[in-house]
C-alpha cells in the first residue's frame, strides 16, 4: 500500500516537474479559460451581475474545454521518446499510473480554476459571498469526477489519430450529470437558500466513486504503447 502510494507520488512529481520546467499545459489552459470567459462575457453582455447558478454554467464551459486540453497534454508527454513504453515496462501497477495521471490532471485543473474563477468573478460580478465554501466544494467534487472520466479516455484515445476532437466528444456527454447537478445545486444554494446536501451531493459523490472505480479497473485494458 505504501509502495503504491510512493509510486503515485513519484509519477505525479515527475509530471508536475515536466510541467514546471516547460509550463506548456498550464499557460495554454489558463489563457484558453480566460478567453472563453471573455468571449462569453461579450456574448452575454458584460457588466450585469450573475448569480451562482449562471456563474457555474459559465465556469463549467471554461473548465470543460480547459480540462480536455489538460488531459490530452498530460498523456501526450508520455508519447515523446516512447516514454509510455518505459512506464509500462516499469514494475508499477497500471492502477497507480492512472492514479498519478489523475492527480496531475486534478492539480492542473485546480490551478486553472484558481486563475479563471477570480477573473470570472471580476468580469461578471459574481456574488458568491453567501456560500463560498459550498461553491468550492461543489466545483471540486465536479472537477474530480470530470478528471476521472477524462484521464481514462485520454489514455484510451492517445494512440489514435483523431485525438483532439475525439476526446472532447467522448468526455462531454459522459460528464453532463456533473454539469447539471452543479448548476442545479448552485440554483438551490444561492437562489432558494437551501442547505448543501441531499440528492445533489450524493449524485456528485456517486459519479466520482463510480468513475474512479471503473477507470481504476479498466485503465490497464485501454493503455497501449
Amino acid at each position: 500500500m505504501m509502495a503504491a502510494f510512493r509510486q503515485i507520488v513519484l509519477m505525479t512529481g515527475k509530471d508536475l516537474r515536466i510541467e514546471a520546467r516547460g509550463r506548456q499545459t498550464i499557460s495554454l489552459v489558463v489563457v484558453l479559460g480566460v478567453l472563453i470567459i471573455v468571449v462569453l462575457g461579450m456574448g452575454l453582455g458584460a457588466g450585469r451581475p450573475v448569480t451562482g447558478f449562471g456563474a457555474t454554467a459559465i465556469l463549467w464551459v471554461a473548465y470543460l474545454f480547459g480540462g480536455v486540453l489538460c488531459f490530452e497534454k498530460t498523456m501526450a508527454v508520455e508519447r515523446n521518446d516512447d516514454a509510455l513504453a518505459g512506464l509500462l515496462l516499469a514494475p508499477v501497477d497500471r492502477g497507480a499510473i492512472y492514479a498519478a495521471k489523475l492527480l496531475t490532471n486534478v492539480i492542473l485543473m485546480f490551478a486553472l480554476a484558481v486563475v479563471v474563477t477570480p477573473v470570472a468573478i471580476l468580469l461578471f460580478r459574481f456574488d458568491l459571498s453567501a456560500h463560498p465554501l459550498g461553491f468550492a466544494l461543489i466545483m471540486a467534487l465536479g472537477m474530480i469526477g470530470f478528471a476521472a472520466v477524462g484521464t481514462l479516455f485520454a489514455a484510451a484515445v492517445s494512440s489514435t489519430r483523431l485525438q483532439g476532437g475525439l476526446l472532447a466528444m467522448l468526455v462531454f456527454p459522459l460528464s453532463l450529470p456533473v454539469v447539471i447537478v452543479s448548476t442545479q445545486m448552485m440554483r438551490r444554494l444561492f437562489q432558494e437558500g437551501e442547505p448543501l446536501g441531499g440528492t445533489g451531493l450524493a449524485t456528485l459523490l456517486a459519479f466520482d466513486v463510480i468513475f474512479l472505480v471503473l477507470s481504476w479497473i479498466v485503465f490497464e485494458l485501454v493503455l497501449e504503447p
Partner: protein, 234 residues
C-alpha cells in the same frame, strides 16, 4: 445464410409485421380517445414501449462490452455495435414522439423538462458511441475503446436520471389509464420488442459478414491493415 435460418428470419419479420398491423388497428378502433389531449395522446402507446426497449438495447451494449473486455472475442464487439445502432434509432424515436407530445401538451416542441433532457443526453451518449467506432482504425483498439465507453455510458444513465430529477418538472409523473388503454399499451410492447430484437440480430449478422469480408480482403491484398487482423480472435 442456410435456407432454414433464412426461412426462420422471414417468418420472424412477417410475424412482427402482422402484430404491428394488428396493434395499429387496435389503436385506431378499440382504444378510447383521451379526454384532455385528444388523438395525439395515442402516440404514448408507441413512446413508452420504445423508451423501455431503448434501455434494453443499451443494456445489450453494456453486456456485450463487458463480454468483449472479458473474452476479447470480436463477435461481442459486433453485437455491441449492432445494439448501439438500435439504441440510437430507438432513442431518436423516443425523442421525436416526446417532442410531438410536448408540442401538444405544453405548446412547445422543446422544453427542458427532466425526461426530455434525459432522452436527449441518452441519445447523445449513444450517438457518440456510434461516432467513435469509425474514428478508430485498428479493429482491436476500436473494440477495446468502444467497450470501455459502452460500459461508462450505461453506468452514466442512472446518474443522468438522478441529475435531471433535480431540474424543475412539468412532465406528468403518473398517468391514469383506462383498462382498454392498459391493454393497448401491453399489446404495443410485443411488436416493438420483437422489432428491437430482430434489428439487433439482423445488424449483428451483417456485422459478422462485414468483419469476415474485411479480414479476407486484408489477408489477400496484403495491405498494412492486414497486420491489424493478425492474431485476432473472431
Amino acid at each position: 445464410m442456410p435456407p432454414p435460418r433464412r426461412l426462420l428470419a422471414h417468418a420472424y419479420w412477417i410475424l412482427t409485421a402482422v402484430l404491428s398491423a394488428a396493434t395499429i388497428v387496435m389503436l385506431l378502433t378499440y382504444t378510447p380517445v383521451e379526454a384532455t389531449m385528444g388523438p395525439v395522446q395515442k402516440i404514448f402507446y408507441l413512446h413508452l414501449p420504445v423508451a423501455i426497449n431503448t434501455f434494453v438495447a443499451a443494456l445489450v451494449v453494456f453486456i456485450a462490452s463487458i463480454g468483449y473486455l472479458w473474452q476479447r472475442k470480436m463477435w461481442w464487439d459486433d453485437l455491441a455495435a449492432a445494439a448501439g445502432k438500435v439504441t440510437v434509432l430507438f432513442c431518436a424515436i423516443v425523442l421525436l414522439t416526446g417532442m410531438v407530445w410536448g408540442r401538444s401538451a405544453w405548446g412547445a416542441w422543446w422544453t427542458w423538462s427532466p425526461r426530455l433532457t434525459f432522452s436527449l443526453i441518452l441519445f447523445l451518449l449513444y450517438v457518440v458511441y456510434m461516432m467513435i467506432r469509425p474514428s478508430i482504425e485498428a479493429p482491436q483498439r476500436r473494440a477495446a475503446i468502444s467497450a470501455v465507453y459502452g460500459i461508462a455510458a450505461f453506468l452514466d444513465v442512472p446518474l443522468v436520471y438522478l441529475s435531471v430529477k433535480m431540474m424543475p418538472d412539468i412532465h406528468p409523473s403518473s398517468i391514469a389509464l383506462a383498462p382498454e388503454m392498459k391493454l393497448t399499451l401491453a399489446a404495443w410492447f410485443v411488436p416493438v420488442t420483437l422489432t428491437m430484437a430482430g434489428l439487433i440480430a439482423t445488424r449483428f449478422r451483417l456485422n459478422r459478414r462485414l468483419r469476415a469480408f474485411e479480414q479476407h480482403q486484408a489477408m489477400t491484398t496484403e495491405t498494412p491493415a492486414a497486420a491489424n487482423y493478425m492474431g485476432e480472435t473472431a
